[in-house]
């Protein structure tokens, strides 16, 4: 109970920090513009003539997040270390875990808010036709989970350095791996020389493979578990990195 109220206090502070800087507004505007542009202009939403958001909308999310999520997550720990407030935060009567989870939740909720703000697209597709809103809902859940996985990776890289740019670049590279491992052109390339089992193993690490189910409206517990365990593992790594710094 006490732990939860500590986490809530941290989350509240972090969320407040997003909205006092222009970062939050810039992020939301860019995210919404990208969503709109790719869905209607590149994704061929109208040309398809079908009432669904799968291909034209959700397909782009892994790529949007590749750059946008590390931009949100890069300041989480790097900024604390640069300014020195980490010394305040980690000597407060809270555990390191509560601080990590509190910070992560704040950013994740923020990403969730950005995602919710794409609702006009849902309204549009409902106005034009009669889509399966269950599929759309499961797409949103999957997209949010995927954003959380990217974010947790950004937490690790942010804890590793006091330089936000370094943190950004490293987390983009790691996230790119998690996309490419399941990106069809890469898979075809691998199939040329590797055995099926190896290709499957590599592909099973990809966010694309696991996001695919959500887009089809299938809430597979294995997919949910994949994202949650990626988040859990990354946050654990964050705590190890933070402890490593303090132990000197």
């Amino acid at each position: 109970m006490n732990a939860w109220s500590n986490i809530k206090t941290i989350t509240k502070r972090e969320l407040g920090a997003y909205f006092t800087s222009p970062l939050a507004y810039i992020f939301i505007v860019i995210f919404l513009l990208l969503c709109g542009f790719f869905t209607f202009m590149v994704g061929g939403f109208f040309e398809r003539g079908e009432a669904s958001l799968g291909r034209p909308f959700f397909d782009w999310h892994p790529w949007f997040y590749l750059f946008l999520v590390p931009a949100v997550g890069m300041r989480l720990w790097a900024e604390e270390r640069r300014v020195g407030t980490i010394e305040l935060l980690l000597t407060m009567p809270i555990t390191t875990w509560q601080a990590i989870v509190g910070k992560f939740l704040a950013s994740w909720l923020f990403l969730g808010l950005a995602l919710v703000l794409t609702f006009p697209i849902v309204i549009t597709v409902n106005y034009l036709g009669s889509p399966d809103n269950g599929v759309i809902f499961s797409g949103y859940i999957g997209s949010w989970l995927m954003a959380g996985a990217y974010l947790a990776i950004s937490c690790v890289t942010s804890a590793m350095t006091r330089n936000q740019v370094v943190s950004f670049i490293i987390s983009v590279v790691i996230c790119l791996f998690f996309i490419l491992a399941g990106f069809p052109p890469i898979i075809r390339l691998l199939e040329g020389w590797a055995g099926t089992w190896l290709v499957d193993t590599i592909a099973s690490f990809s966010v694309i493979t696991h996001f695919d189910g959500f887009q089809k409206g299938v809430l597979d517990s294995r997919d949910v578990l994949f994202f949650l365990s990626l988040i859990g593992f990354s946050l654990f790594t964050t705590s190890v990195v933070l402890r490593g710094h303090r132990a000197g």
């Binding site: 109220s5 000597t91 009567p93 303090r246």
Partner: protein, 321 residues
């Protein structure tokens, strides 16, 4: 309240802190002195639980800071070096956050914030962003954060660093007042501060305690303790030296300044003279007139130098003389 035993911290091959032991009781203000890099901040970071010790134990209020970190931290208020604060918050927001994370809610939180705002004179900047504050205000904001829960133990790393003389005075008064009811450790390299605030001082160098005592006791270690500064007229330096060296209590004498009308000298006593030097000199005044005569108390900065830099202190003293 604070008990440190055989504390060691090793960074790579360097012993930053090497076997420190000391205690601080309620009602004590312990001054932590030492040159830069002596291990002051490292020790404070270990007491507050920011970094774990390589060896040794620290208990605060009976709680081990590693094994029972959370209850120990509840008792501590901490002002880190350079007084960091969240730049993206207002002063009010920052203090409310500090109060909340310390478990204060509702009315108790409001009262606590109000109390520290008054205590640290922050009304004028309450709704200003921390980023835009001057260094003095930022420092006091972080200081306010450290006392918001009225902690029993205060750990202050250079609490007056970067403040103007008025602010320094205010902070010192504040520390002295709070020291009556709390156990306080603060680090500084301003020696006048030790006199103004501390009930006890520890000098550390290269991770080890090299002196421990009240400011008076430390001053006694000075060569200057009990020395007499004397200005006379009607005699020249060489003649005065001859006369004074005949006295049984005088060890040696150095001339500080000499001009046509008067000569100023410092006379050092032999050990165990215990203040008999000045009366003896006064009695010996024949054929010359004493213009000025006073006994030195011993100087902390000289003690500090001679303890932490034994090689250079001697030459520095020669220069001064």
């Amino acid at each position: 309240m604070i008990k440190v035993q055989n504390l060691v911290k090793i960074f790579g091959a360097k012993h930053a802190v090497d076997g420190l032991s000391f205690t601080v009781e309620r009602g004590e203000v312990l001054g932590f002195l030492g040159p830069n890099g002596a291990g002051k901040s490292t020790t404070m970071r270990m007491i507050t639980g920011f970094i774990p010790p390589s060896a040794g134990t620290i208990t605060v209020g009976g709680f081990d800071v590693v094994g029972q970190a959370i209850p120990a931290r509840r008792l501590i208020g901490y002002l880190p070096e350079n007084a960091p604060a969240y730049t993206d918050m207002t002063v009010n927001g920052f203090l409310n956050f500090a109060a909340e994370i310390r478990g204060l809610r509702g009315d108790a939180k409001r009262r606590a914030v109000h109390r520290v705002v008054e205590m640290c004179f922050l009304e004028a900047v309450l709704h200003q962003s921390v980023e835009t504050l001057s260094k003095g205000y930022r420092h006091r904001t972080c200081f306010a954060q450290s006392v918001i829960h009225d902690p029993d133990v205060l750990v202050l790393d250079e609490p007056t660093d970067g403040l103007d003389p008025n602010q320094k005075h205010e902070v010192r008064c504040l520390i002295r007042k709070m020291g009556e009811k709390k156990a306080i450790i603060f680090s500084t390299h301003i020696l006048e501060e030790v006199d103004a605030v501390c009930s006890r001082a520890i000098i550390i160098d290269r991770g080890k305690i090299v002196a421990n005592g009240t400011p008076e006791q430390l001053r006694q270690k000075s060569d200057w303790a009990g020395a007499v500064t004397l200005r006379v007229s009607g005699i020249n330096g060489a003649a005065l030296n001859q006369k004074l060296s005949q006295l049984a209590v005088v060890k040696r004498m150095t001339v500080l300044r000499e001009d046509s009308t008067s000569v100023t000298v410092r006379v050092f006593p032999k050990s165990n003279v215990n203040g008999a030097l000045a009366p003896n000199i006064a009695d010996a005044a024949q054929g010359w007139r004493i213009e000025e005569l006073h006994t030195e108390e011993g100087r902390l900065d000289e003690v500090f130098r001679s303890i932490t830099m034994p090689d250079t202190a001697a030459t520095a003293n020669e220069e001064k003389k």
